[in-house]
Symmetry: C2
């Protein structure tokens, strides 16, 4: 007869289905806006965070990473894989889950799926950046790459920047069709395009989120007019870039965490000392975002642990009082902490 | 109406209660012996492992660590905290959980509690080391420190080294009483002692597993006679040691992973270049264990990621065909991997 674990032993767990229920009940727009608020709040206190570089384990098929970070109160980490060939076998290229824990006790406070959550926080971060960097009167966004991240980006830019008109292009027309179907259903005005040159026409914002693994040039220099904001999502690991180097040289580049972006982002094409600006300083009001109408701004997004930390905080707060989590018996909790063995013996009824 | 996730979305989860059921059904002795076999098998192929140092996040109250490692087939990591003051508030000093994943896909294969499992694997590793290092005719083990790890060590040494006679000492008599009660019930011949000097009398093996955080000297030089094997468990982080330096100077020191042990183990008291031998080489038959009757052998145990990896493999194999796991909906699994958003929309019935 196994005694019931005490409350201390349980960790709230948000499954994929509960995450989807939570997000759809809140509304995707509203949930992304809330995520952006948590990210902005954490960006404003950026120096408070313990910023360890991610721990990556590379193999021929892909990479598995642990992304930890902590402030004085909470510790969080995300497990995330990147396996480009997975799609052929019906697996996700990227799956993720994460844990938020108490720094004071080391006890986990939340275990949650983060495949859906990462897509949401990536989009929220891009839209947060655009709020400070895109032309204030932006109405049209061109999207090159219409894969899994595309619709989340669109939803975030509508929710946070008021973008309702989209131009879509993907090397695979089926991907564009999928995105058009989903986004039209969400009330966007969607134009599908046959080429990268066509898709950028009349757009104040250009979002690139392709999944090419090797150095690619989705955007060439002549395609980027003055005053445009480029939201570059796809270039996010060594050897993976989307923009021609000349675009970077004409742009004011904003990044999350320079030591990581110079290795993983579009910046890997530039000299180590090429000037970049840190997004958190813009959000914190320590430096200006967009300065004039002709300036080309570039958000070289790779995704940083603090955004996941913010997302974990947001979810932990959001599930309170909802039915959208289970309680996992993840932690041993003997009546006498020194008597772990006694707990084991009692469980056998001995 | 949320569609049911496919099989790909589920990850086997072993709760604390299921771990206890699995271990007690198998028998603690038998389970530890099986763990030792998995650890020995992985030690024999030690060079195959990707050995990243653990990622530690220190705070005033304790530490939270991620311990990853991988071979060509599997990736594993353990989350573990160490918070000495937790016990005051009825929390465990150490809690842990772990994940085993596929290197080929990056998909998690197992999520399991590791608080109980870590206690078991630590004991299994100590007994495995003693099998090669302790005097072959060992019958009596002295145990200084009778806390949470004590009984697991005793069970492992009986299961793997045939030790049935124990001498117990702890600064806190209540801890000794607890261990005596548990171990007598397990059929050990137990003698409780009033001092460290008394407890080591006539013992061929001395196990130290105290929880002192600062530099301590549980064992002084004169207490360690020739031919003894010292199994030092307690010294496992910077500033935490149990043995007088002179004992180390008289001993042949065996360690798990030198770069880690020199920082965290008893070895932190020695010069960086002080000779140590790697346990895996002994297990692999590349170098001898105990060479003669008078030799003092010391296993300076700190716990290494590969032991957790072995434990994760062992549990994954052990739960097959048993009812001792649940299936967690941890991974998003859209029908079309590029249509994560579509999966989200459908979950809302939109």
């Amino acid at each position: 007869m196994v005694p019931e674990p005490s409350a201390l032993a349980y960790v709230p767990f948000v499954s994929v289905q509960n995450m989807m229920r939570l997000v759809t009940e809140t509304g995707v727009d509203a949930f992304i806006a809330r995520l952006a608020d948590y990210i902005a709040a954490d960006f404003r206190r950026w120096p408070e965070f313990d910023k360890t570089p991610r721990v990556a384990s590379h193999s021929t098929d892909g990479v598995i990473e642990l992304m930890p970070t902590a402030d004085a109160e909470n510790y969080g980490f995300k497990y995330v894989n990147g396996h480009p060939r997975n799609m052929r076998d019906g697996y996700q290229t990227v799956t993720a889950f994460g844990v938020l824990a108490s720094v004071a006790t080391g006890y986990p406070l939340l275990l949650t799926e983060m495949t859906v959550l990462t897509a949401l926080r990536t989009a929220a971060t891009s839209a947060l950046a655009a709020k400070y960097l895109a032309p204030p009167e932006s109405q049209v966004m061109a999207m090159i790459g219409n894969g899994a991240q595309c619709e989340f980006q669109a939803m975030a830019f509508r929710s946070i920047c008021g973008i309702r008109r989209l131009r879509l292009y993907d090397v695979d027309p089926a991907a564009t069709l999928k995105a058009e179907r989903n986004l039209t259903a969400e009330g966007f005005e969607v134009v599908t395009c046959a080429s990268p040159e066509e898709v950028v026409e009349g757009a104040q914002i250009i979002t690139t989120c392709t999944a090419d693994k090797q150095f690619a040039t989705i955007l060439t220099d002549n395609m980027v007019g003055s005053g445009v904001h480029v939201n570059a999502i796809g270039g996010d690991c060594p050897g993976k870039t989307e923009l021609h180097r000349d675009i970077l040289l004409r742009s004011d580049i904003f990044v999350e965490y320079p030591p990581q972006t110079r290795i993983e982002g579009e910046c890997q094409q530039l000299d180590e000392d090429h000037p970049v600006q840190e997004l958190w300083e813009v959000v914190a009001g320590l430096r200006p975002g967009r300065r004039d109408r002709s300036q080309i701004t570039l958000f070289d997004s790779v995704g940083f642990a603090i955004e996941d930390f913010s997302a974990l905080r947001c979810v932990r707060d959001a599930i309170e009082g909802t039915p959208y989590f289970d309680r996992l018996d993840l932690l041993a909790d003997p009546d006498d902490p020194r008597d772990l063995f006694g707990m084991l013996r009692r469980s056998s009824g001995a």
